[in-house]
Symmetry: C2
Subunit: 292 residues, 2 copies
């Protein structure tokens, strides 16, 4: 199965898994709608695909894999809902649709984010075919990747960085935390479910680190080169908001070189693993070549 | 040890435990300050006291008890930070001090809340002397108590209730979720650490349910009868905002009867447990008689 077939198969499956998890909750209707709205707003599902592709490449299947993938996508979705708020990025559009707070109001949007974040830990605690030890490990690592030492910390650095010109190293630190930590967690959680060795975990962490940086550099490049229509969000926003970006610090051609460097490093890390890792290689290509 | 001695001893200990947990994080300084600010803003520490008092009354001590107490207080604190935001209750004062977003700005306040919520699950996953099975149980129950089916769901109902006159049953449902779920969890988590039997857990759940309702009825009563100075927040706010309250629905004298009823039911549930349960009895009295 190539990546295209893999994604075509799993996209609706992931979508359905998340819908069923939310549907089963006995909660106020408006909250349910708000959570559901953002989960079903599309997107590339890169994190769930990383969970599932990592498992697939380790030759493993696991009855709880979809739940783990769904939990991570819920964390990602909560972060988007909160990032889009007026006091943060103040975005009206996300994936071409009105952002959560534009539809449900700020209060419910904040609470839908809180609920998705809280629920994701519950999903991991309730996995059926994972040992208690591995559940604890998955929860421990998710708390770090998604929290103050990971994604949330990266978002704070990102906001603070808006008021000053960051150096390349500082910018890299923002992205390693803001995007890289959860991307890497997606890979590592798939590897844990697969029973990967500690050497394999190290190689996959390196892969995740470079993949995350490549992802973010491409994000910055697309903001310069893409159109709002392609992106499903306002293009050129980084420049008008004076945000530190790879093209801004390095120039566009050098940013593209940097992107190629990290993509190559990601592929090199994969080469240390047994097997072809075809899906993960293709996912790396996808991230580098995406138009949105 | 009576409750006064117990609180005098444990208040600074809990405070210190939370400060140390936050200090150990490698995170942006502004985020750390913001998390620390709200954790150290005082308050009655009712939830940590419930964890510790429940354990004390079961005759149990546990090296991880303080961490569990701290994790729950972090959840409570995150909920206050988010509740105080302009798009929610829009409060400038909390416990007599400027609210988190007044000091750190809305964006950092939202993120500090997110970080505290996420960290609390990490604290539970990293307990040292609790079996993996019990950690999973603590995390599972916390996710339910704090999330869409508990506290967050209650907050949504509370916000939606502002636009209409609620009936008594609906108001009770709001409070069971918004306040009761986490109070009950505090008791249950202490009981789990104590190795309580399932009968004891049932009695303690009943205790928590009535304690939570008593707590909230007294909150509503104080909003009518207290001063802003006593409360450390704006008094009389419920009436000016047309909020559904127990005194509003029932009249003040009947609300006081209802308060006594739930306090008595709480004490009755305690009577089903072995031992004196002195601290939990006193905590019930404290909640009923508090002035803020």
């Amino acid at each position: 199965m190539n990546l295209k077939q893999f994604r075509t198969h799993y996209e609706p499956v992931i979508q359905q898994e998340m819908a069923e998890l939310i549907r089963a909750l006995a909660i106020p209707e408006s909250l349910k709608e708000s959570m559901h709205y953002s989960l079903q707003a599309g997107g590339k599902r890169i994190r769930p695909m990383l969970v599932l592709a990592t498992m697939h490449e380790q030759g493993a299947a696991h009855p709880d894999a979809l739940k783990v993938a769904a939990a991570i996508e819920m964390i990602h979705t909560y972060s988007l809902i909160h990032d889009d708020l007026p006091s943060m990025d103040n975005d009206d559009l996300r994936r071409g649709m009105p952002t959560n707070h534009k539809v449900f109001g700020e209060a419910v949007a904040i609470l839908a984010g809180d609920a998705l974040l809280t629920f994701s830990f519950g999903i991991l605690a309730r996995l059926e075919d994972v040992s208690a030890e591995d559940k604890v490990r998955l929860i421990d690592l998710l708390s770090t990747a998604a929290g103050a030492e990971g994604m949330v910390g990266g978002q704070v650095l990102d906001i603070e960085g808006e008021e000053k010109q960051l150096g390349l190293e500082q910018l890299e630190q923002v992205h390693l935390l803001k995007t890289g930590a959860l991307l890497t967690y997606s890979i590592i959680s798939g590897a844990i479910l697969s029973g990967a060795s500690s050497e394999q975990l190290v190689a996959l962490s390196t892969f995740g680190r470079h993949l995350g940086l490549a992802f973010q550099i491409q994000d910055d490049i697309l903001d310069v080169t893409g159109t709002s229509e392609e992106l499903g969000k306002t293009a050129g926003k980084d420049e008008t908001s004076d945000k530190s970006t790879y093209p801004g610090i390095l120039t566009l051609p050098k940013a593209k070189e940097k992107l190629d460097y990290h993509a190559q490093q990601a592929l090199n890390a994969l080469a240390e693993l047994p097997g072809e890792q075809q899906l993960l290689k293709e996912l790396t290509e996808l991230i580098v070549q995406r138009k949105s």
